[in-house]
């Protein structure tokens, strides 16, 4: 190694050292971005790429997008057939719509159930508040899958609920609870209601309760106060909670698979089938991309409206 190399080598190490010492705060910021890039953005583009490829029977089961043709010419094959196929076969459209229907109704049910609960928690005394919050978080300590299996046990034809109703003489034959849309609603609302309650709680906790007194003082009856003050003031909490329920519920796979069986069409199950049973990765990827667009567009629209409102 000659002198010049040595010097440049030392100075490079020094420079690196210098950067680390003085700019580590800025570098720390890049760690989550790096993480998101590697584990979100890169996979996203891989899925996008696969969705634009042609399916073949091989491993991996799609034709590569980039191809070296003869004489060193690079060939790019973009196939939009997969997306067209989603539109042509009405199974996919139906399944998307059914998923959206189920997640919308579940979100409304979670709101109707979660709002009074969050309100009651906020209004309760200090010690009760902590106990009630703990009870909301407690189910997370058990595996999600176990809890869904527990619901299967409860809802089955020979399950706890049917047996109880039969022994009480309310019904003679078991009623169909499991493997129905009803069971899927039960499962989704049960699973996601904490995600509605917690943001609502956080929002209501900051609510200035003298505003409610002010409304009463100005002649508003409790109902009017609720609709003119409480509800508008808690709208950010409602939206946050609704998004946290709606988005994962739309793509939910485990609950419709275990509790809905083959009777409930949801996009998560369809995607799973395309990928594993049909081994049609391009169509499965297209299904995923469309789902992403369906979920992201309304969110972007909402944020656009929000930012406009804060400006105004």
């Amino acid at each position: 190694m000659n002198e010049a190399d040595k010097i440049s080598h030392i100075s490079l190490a020094d420079r690196l050292n210098h950067v680390l010492q003085h700019h580590w705060k800025r570098l720390i910021v890049f760690i989550p971005y790096f993480w998101l890039f590697v584990f979100f953005l890169a996979p996203f583009f891989i899925v996008l790429k696969i969705s634009l490829s042609e399916a073949i029977i091989a491993s991996p089961p799609f034709k590569p997008m980039l191809n070296w043709a003869e004489e060193g010419i690079m060939q790019i094959r973009v196939v939009v057939d997969n997306y067209a196929y989603l539109w042509e076969d009405d199974l996919y459209v139906k399944t998307y719509l059914n998923s959206l229907k189920i997640s919308t109704i579940s979100t409304i049910l979670c709101l109707l159930l979660g709002y009074p609960i969050a309100y009651a928690i906020v209004r309760s005394s200090h010690t009760t508040k902590h106990i009630l919050l703990m009870l909301i978080i407690l189910p997370f300590w058990t595996s999600f899958l176990l809890r869904v299996y527990a619901w299967m046990g409860l809802l089955a034809d020979q399950g706890t609920i049917n047996n109880l109703l039969i022994s009480l003489g309310v019904i003679d034959d078991p009623i169909r609870l499991l493997y129905s849309e009803f069971a899927v609603y039960v499962g989704i609302v049960y699973t996601y209601v904490p995600f509605m309650i917690l943001p609502l709680y956080a929002n209501m906790e900051k609510l200035d309760w003298t505003l409610l007194e002010a409304a009463a003082d100005l002649g508003a009856k409790p109902m009017t106060t609720f609709f003119t003050v409480t509800l508008p003031m808690t709208t950010p909490g409602i939206i946050a909670g609704a998004l946290l329920v709606f988005i994962p519920a739309t793509g939910e796979f485990v609950i419709p698979d275990l509790l809905g069986g083959g009777n409930v069409l949801m996009i998560g199950r369809l995607l799973y089938n395309e990928f594993n049973a049909n081994v049609d990765w391009p169509v499965a990827s297209a299904v995923a991309m469309v789902l992403l667009v369906v979920l992201v567009l309304p969110m972007m629209l909402y944020q656009h409206i929000q930012s406009k409102e804060t400006e105004g």
Partner: protein
Amino acid sequence: MSQPIDYNDRPWMDPDAEPFIRVQSVSKHFGDFTAVDSVDLEIYKGELFSLLGGSGCGKTTLLRMLAGFEDPSAGNIFIDGVNMNDVPPYERPVNMMFQSYALFPHMTVENNVAYGLKRDGLPASDIAQKVEEVLAMVELTRFRKRKPHQLSGGQRQRVALARALVKQPKVLLLDEPLGALDKRLREQAQFELMNLQDQLGVTFVVVTHDQEEAMTLSTRIAIMDNGRFMQIGTPTEIYEFPQSRLVANFIGNANMFEGRITENGPDHVVVESKEVDCEFYIDHGLSIQEGSKVWVALRPEKISISKGTPASGPTNTLKGMVHGIGYLGGTSTYRVQVGDRLIEITSPNQNRPKDGNPPIEWDEEVYLSWEASSSVVLSK
């Protein structure tokens, strides 16, 4: 709209006058804590009545009971002859201006003010007109489309006032109405508030911890401590004739001397204080036994300070040493040591130091003297 209260018209002195608000042996307990302890109070139409006291004295609880946010544990509250015990806040003929103003952050100034009128189901044109009027009154017409967070503190205070007044309540309750404003703004707002009350003739009940504010605003003041009234009276009565040491110390400053009554005449009393070795001659009678222990309260501004011997002779005179001087521009505050005691004197600076007599300096020997009518004897 009713006649504003006249300076010489003191309904509380008139035995036939019907009080507008009557608080009858009202108590409020929170668990073991007694916030309001069996109080009686009568407030007359058109008064600007202040509840004055330190934090936790029960003044806000009493106000909240008038508004209907708290139910009395015992007793009755009548407003305009109607028992309010079972009347919810939204049906009471009162409006409140909250300490935090409690403006609805999601509504414009205009909609905040219109909120109460909408609840009354008035036609839209009436609402618009009334909102217009009240916004003009508080000079906020320009800001009608703004949201509360786009306003300054003083503007928010005026929105809160407008919102409470627009419903033309029989009683306006104000919880620390000027507490959140800075000093300069507060003084201006004080006079605005008084003018408004004068124009509208609405009965105001104000909660405040600021004695200066209470003195400036009020027709009468109730001084509260530990859930009870210590004294109820006009600002002058409370300042000049406090009934207890607590009141004398709470309103303004007072030099307090412990002593015994040595002479109790029909038109005067003499109190001898061992503390400062002085005889106080006071020109008001007192129904108290000779020899009993009393306190003499003497306001700092009622004492005159001089270098020469005062004419009044040995009574109502003290001799001491200047221990400190605080020059405040319009007045100066002297601290004079008499025996073990430091006595506070406030004296106006009428002459510029270079024109008049040589000024009083630190560590100089001085004489303090006061009129026979200047001090007050207190038995508790």
